[in-house]
């Protein structure tokens, strides 16, 4: 009874915190994405039920890690922000606090899985799939999804709780999601299971034969990787235990993930710092590590994948480029830029900082300074992507020089990336939650993918970035007039919106 009451409290706490709308949007989104995938080819419809079982883990692997990172952050961050841990500990045992937080997440997971089943059966009936669905297969799929979701949620719960700075958990969620997605394209191995994000792939039990000449697809049942099911439970057990342990041991103010040492310059006289203000604020905030790790992972697995498929990928540098940038630019860089933008505004959303800031700086200058920070980070990561690309190319043994279009791709990617920064800065300014804008970035990126396939890439900033980088197709002929016009419009509009928001709304502080 007690537990139920506590559980209800958790749901009360997350009222109006955007969890329900997010859940609904995510569901609708997945529904649209899956329906969109049905392009009415005869053989697809006859095998529709199998096709869905093949597609679902893939889309889950892209969306769910970030979604559960956001969910966990929403459930935990309210306690960090309002500083309620100390109070809670006097009212509720630490064990019960952890269990209730975990249970609350499980409830959302169960709900989402039910919603997913509804949309599966709706799609099946609507498009007239052949035959009846294999109930055992869908039952198995649902159980697997619930287990993996719970694993991912627990990881994020632990990270969100341990590090007050929510950027840590979201960056891990993003990096994990990317690894999980990449792994599905590698030969099946133990990596599928020891990386929790790879479990979606490990548990898959439908395979596909694809004839590259006739472009025919054929789906068949197979077995999950040996012991995949067992690994699900090993992970859950391990995470429940470590989460419980962490809730017992964590110091009240949380672990800090900060390299800013204050020892060095003690008792020197105070100097005027030459650094721009925004960079002083970023001192000791190691978010840039994520900007190193994500492209690195993408490059490593991309190169590996390229070398494994040299027979099909015969465009040398060009093939390697799309291997390096495909997933990174389509899904993960926009979200990572989103994390950075959220962090930039979080600094001001904290405490009463707006009170001091808005008295001394004009909104124009403030938004511009924040934008410069984000653009600087974007530039650095593009540089890093280039270095990795050239290095991997040399190591693969390409003898001819790198493609001369490289600079063009990077410049276009840079322009498109600035658009992403502008829109994300706007979202993170008006939405005070750290995590929600990041979920929006991911959903925006997937929407961008759909728009691009319809030739409408200029309608979303996220697709401007990936198309600018030529992430899917290095031979894509970009219409520069439209591209630049779209970039300028998006930047202007969202920059202006941010400034107007600051100018004409009342300052809200956390007090």
């Amino acid at each position: 009874m007690r537990t139920l009451q506590y559980l209800k409290l958790e749901f009360d706490k997350t009222k109006k915190r955007g969890v329900w709308p997010l859940l609904l949007i995510l569901w609708l989104f997945q529904h649209v994405y899956l329906s969109y995938g049905m392009n009415n080819r005869e053989e697809e419809l006859t095998q529709g039920w199998l096709l869905l079982l093949y597609n679902l883990p893939l889309i889950n692997a892209i969306i769910l890690p970030v979604f559960y990172a956001v969910l966990a952050s929403r459930l935990i961050d309210c306690e960090h922000k309002e500083n309620t841990w100390k109070l809670l500990e006097t009212l509720q045992s630490k064990t019960s606090l952890f269990l209730v937080k975990a249970l609350a997440g499980l409830c959302y997971i169960l709900l989402f899985s039910c919603m997913q089943l509804i949309s599966i059966f709706f799609i099946g009936t609507f498009y007239g799939f052949g035959g009846k669905p294999d109930l055992w297969a869908y039952a198995l799929y649902t159980i697997q999804t619930i287990l993996i979701s719970f694993i991912l949620y627990l990881i994020q719960l632990i990270l969100s709780f341990a590090f007050t700075n929510q950027a840590v958990s979201l960056c891990v969620g993003l990096a994990g999601g990317m690894i999980g997605l990449f792994i599905m394209f590698l030969p099946r191995s133990i990596f599928y299971e020891i990386i929790p994000w790879g479990l979606f792939g490990a548990n898959m039990f439908v395979g596909m034969n694809w004839d590259s000449v006739t472009r025919d697809m054929d789906f068949y049942y197979t077995t999950p990787i040996d012991g995949a099911f067992l690994w699900d439970f090993i992970w859950i057990g391990f995470l429940l235990f470590s989460g419980w342990l962490l809730f017992q041991k964590r110091p009240v103010e949380g672990f800090s993930f900060c390299f800013h040492s204050t020892k060095k310059n003690s008792f020197k006289s105070v100097q005027n710092l030459k650094m721009p203000i925004e960079y002083i604020k970023l001192k000791g905030s190691p978010i840039w590590i994520a900007f190193i790790i994500l492209p690195l992972v993408s490059a490593l697995i991309g190169t590996f994948n390229y070398q494994g498929n040299i027979a099909i990928l015969d465009d040398l540098w060009y093939s390697l480029w799309s291997q390096h940038t495909l997933f990174l630019c389509y899904f993960f860089m926009p979200a990572l830029l989103g994390v950075y933008c959220s962090y930039l505004w979080r600094l001001e959303h904290t405490g009463t900082n707006w009170n001091q800031l808005m008295v001394h700086i004009s909104p124009w200058k403030l938004v511009r300074d924040k934008l410069y920070c984000a653009i600087f980070m974007l530039g650095l990561s593009l540089l890093w992507i280039t270095v990795l690309f050239l290095l991997c190319g040399k190591m693969t043994g390409f003898t001819d020089s790198a493609p001369h279009e490289l600079l063009e791709w990077l410049l276009c990617g840079f322009l498109g990336g600035i658009c992403v920064c502008c829109i994300q800065l706007f979202f993170s300014l008006i939405i005070r939650s750290f995590a929600i804008p990041i979920a929006m970035a991911l959903l925006g990126s997937i929407a961008g993918l759909i728009f691009t396939s319809q030739g409408l890439w200029y309608l979303l900033p996220y697709s401007l970035f990936s198309v600018g980088m030529r992430a899917n197709n290095p031979f894509f002929k970009l219409d520069y007039g439209v591209f630049i016009l779209a970039c300028v419009c998006f930047c202007e509009v969202f920059y202006l919106l941010s400034v107007l928001y600051l100018k004409y709304t009342d300052v809200k502080t956390q007090e």
């Binding site: 800013h260 105070v270 000791g284 405490g351 009463t352």
Partner: protein, 241 residues
């Protein structure tokens, strides 16, 4: 008479409720203006209006006889220092770095930072991260930020929150001396009558968003037998304090 700061019919609604109603605040130059009222009376709302942090529904604000508009807001506020609600700070930075940020925003030199750090007696603690500060130290940092750059108008919202008795005494003396030593005008809000009594020359009493009394503190005392009684009578009794 010329006022350094003056509001005309200043009103601010929050939903259907008026937080501040037709406020006529008049602050003469070179005084300590005590802004007094029970919790939730509209003190902080008024101070935020003065700084343009929130926009009034009607009425206007003038600094140095000049009406504040969206255009001249920042240039007028350049000569103010403020501490609203509780201190603003970046917890992962040191006290000195926090002041360096404010100094850059205000365009003030490094020497001033050292001065204000000494003034609020935080110099020894300047290289500690602010999140490790005690409540009182944070409050001192907030006051230091407000004092930085020797503003002409200082706006302090309950500045002695979280300070120990010695600290309260010290800040009180500091505020009292500012008009004489630095030619400043200080507006200080409080819900403690005794505090205002000890440092203010002028007093404004606000209740339910309306100004009940404004004038010299000695004038107020003559209205009743003691200040305490006058205040309680005006704001409707002890139950609301």
């Amino acid at each position: 008479m010329n006022y350094i700061l003056e509001t005309t019919n200043l009103s601010k609604a929050h939903g259907s409720k008026m937080r501040v109603k037709n406020l006529q605040m008049q602050v003469p130059k070179g005084c300590v203006y005590g802004f007094l009222g029970p919790n939730g009376a509209g003190k902080t709302t008024t101070l935020k209006l003065l700084l343009g942090l929130i926009k009034p529904n009607s009425g206007s604000i003038s600094f140095y006889g000049q009406k504040m508009t969206e255009k001249n807001r920042l240039s007028l506020l350049k000569t103010t220092g403020s501490l609203i609600e509780s201190p603003s700070y970046y917890g992962h930075l040191t006290g000195a770095e926090n002041l360096q940020i404010i100094a850059k925003l205000k365009g003030v030199s490094a020497k001033d930072i050292t001065d204000v750090l000494h003034t609020v007696r935080l110099y020894e603690q300047k290289d500690k991260k602010v999140k490790h500060y005690s409540l009182g130290m944070k409050q001192r940092l907030g006051i230091a930020m407000a004092l930085l750059g020797k503003p002409q108008i200082l706006i302090l919202d309950e500045p002695t929150n979280g300070l120990d008795p010695a600290g309260i005494q010290e800040i009180r003396e500091l505020i009292k001396g500012l008009p004489a030593t630095h030619n400043m005008t200080v507006i200080v809000s409080s819900h403690l009558l005794s505090e205002v009594e000890q440092m203010a020359d002028m007093v404004g009493i606000i209740h339910h968003g309306e100004m009940l009394f404004q004038g010299n503190i000695n004038e107020l005392a003559t209205q009743g037998s003691s200040l305490e009684e006058v205040f309680l009578a005006m704001t409707g009794g002890a139950s609301e304090l």
